[in-house]
Symmetry: C2
Subunit: 328 residues, 2 copies
């Protein structure tokens, strides 16, 4: 492999001048520039990125944390981020935390060992105080996830409103008994906000809030099936169900259909995300502007890196949109 030294020798110039040409510095005569370019061409030279990283103390690489890339919500986000990063000359390192606290912490070492210039988190497994110290080693941006204590740039969606418009839509369709179905009931601000939006819509309409209609631990199609059976077994059945994800909604729909229930007459279902399958089964759902938050978060990250901005709280909040289909 040719080095900058070889190029310099062939062009009968110094390494410095070659480096200047590579980095488009001024103060190089066209004559010498031509010589350097010719030598580079001849030797098929490209600068070694490790050496460059070491000297410049930056990697032009950004790490993106997702729970699992197979989740369409996150893969959509990563697709947009990847393209945006690539346009700006950055690489993307993919970190799958698999919902594990340990893995999340392990990946944080990437920042400490200077393998990446910054981190974008789309979900957080650990408490913020576990993550905070790593801010000493580089910028962190939150995308989708939200945390009160984290004083860093945050691009997120107004979950209260998301759940609110979904629930209100069901109310407007005449439903009064509306079940609520969510993923984790943990300390996640995200889950908390959605629940708040649901309750707010009920309260506004003067509707009953029934503890038994709150179903948790729902993530997958399989969970959705389980939840349908739970609903079917209830004495006082809800007539509509709000879900926190299209997967769960699909599972409910599937099992309901298998039991010859008519949707939405026997049960109205509303999903979340507008994933491809939603169109297939005619699922009413709440669309998240994924492309938008992904692009904003990546933009924020690159700006922070390039202008060496101080890390501080900066909230960008975006809104949802309801997509009405046959399931409600």
């Amino acid at each position: 492999m040719a080095t900058i030294q070889d190029v310099a020798k062939l062009a009968r110039l110094s390494r410095t001048t070659v480096s200047r040409v590579i980095n488009h510095h001024p103060y190089v005569t066209d004559e010498k520039k031509r010589l350097v370019l010719k030598a580079m061409e001849e030797l098929n030279y490209v600068p070694n990125s490790s050496a460059r990283r070491l000297r410049k103390q930056q990697t032009e690489t950004i790490a993106v944390y997702v729970p699992r890339i197979t989740n369409p919500f996150f893969s959509q986000m990563v697709e947009v981020m990847g393209n945006h990063a690539s346009e700006k000359g950055y690489q993307l390192i993919l970190c799958q935390t698999s919902y594990s606290r340990n893995k999340e912490i392990n990946y944080l070492e990437l920042l400490k060992t200077k393998q990446v210039d910054g981190l974008i988190l789309t979900s957080i497994e650990n408490e913020w105080r576990e993550i905070k110290p790593y801010l000493n080693y580089g910028p962190i941006v939150l995308c989708n996830e939200y945390n009160d204590d984290a004083d860093i740039p945050t691009v997120y969606l107004n979950q209260v409103e998301g759940a609110y418009i979904g629930t209100r839509h069901l109310i407007e369709q005449g439903h009064t008994k509306i079940a609520y179905c969510s993923g984790d009931n943990s300390a996640s601000r995200l889950a908390f906000d959605r629940f708040k939006g649901y309750k707010q819509a009920l309260k506004e309409a003067g509707l009953e809030f029934n503890d038994k209609w709150i179903l948790t631990n729902a993530f997958s199609i399989k969970d959705g099936k389980r939840i349908f059976r739970a609903i079917a077994d209830m004495e006082d059945r809800p007539t509509a169900v709000f879900t926190g994800s299209d997967e769960v909604a699909s599972g409910i729909w599937l099992e309901a259909t298998n039991h010859y229930w008519s949707i939405p007459d026997d049960l109205a279902i509303i999903g979340f995300d507008d994933q491809p399958q939603a169109e297939l089964i005619g699922l009413t759902t709440i669309e998240q502007p994924i492309d938008e938050i992904a692009k904003r978060a990546m933009g924020q990250m690159i700006e922070t890196i390039e202008n060496k901005l101080p890390i501080k709280k900066k909230e960008i909040q975006l809104n949802f949109q309801l997509i009405k289909r046959r399931s409600t």
Copy 2:
């Protein structure tokens, strides 16, 4: 940030000894090792990865090429590869080619500039001769994609057989007029092989091959819808259709259902991949052992890197499985 020098000074030892401790070399007394560890702890030291990369001439990073990460087939592959790589101490850089020859070539510079130790390609946009020269800079492994000219490790699926068992299944259900529907009709060996499997099944059963039933350029749900309308408009209609992807099959199913066709009575549909949506709409499909090829390909890559194996042709072929559902 503390450097190895700082650690050495604090421990009153040389850089060399500190380095030995970090890299678990023998010939360090327990006494000194303890001193070093203590100093590292005290200074909160971690080795700088850029310096390490430069000196060791390796990056512990692998690039994975996919067309788009949002395609469930590829995101599944990347999920498995990511986890496998992480277990072995490697990072994953995600390269989305977006089906563009240019982008593919651009990303190849990663190998040349030594930003990654190796490349896994899950699809190829350019001719092999465009890619081959990059083998001088590091190993390349093919996963899913196949190319006759490429003398490199290749993990792939027996596409001939895949299409064959799908088509034969339709024949066994009594169909004699079977349409065939595929993505690109390019020089891709993958597409060629599938077509071969389809024709082979027809021929074995002594069935007619009809040019008009060969539909191309089908990738998305939208394409599937278009294809349904094309089929519906035919004078001599097929009674079953073999598709190269679940997305396309879903599109056909969706549009057919919207037109009140009964599946499979009016039209039998078979998909490819067994994506989550296939279960939802009861799509018969051909399952690919994605986890298996992903794991094998990554294993092959790491083995090649670590044992500095010469790059040579090595084929690993795996088989498909038919999943029967309601659409046939």
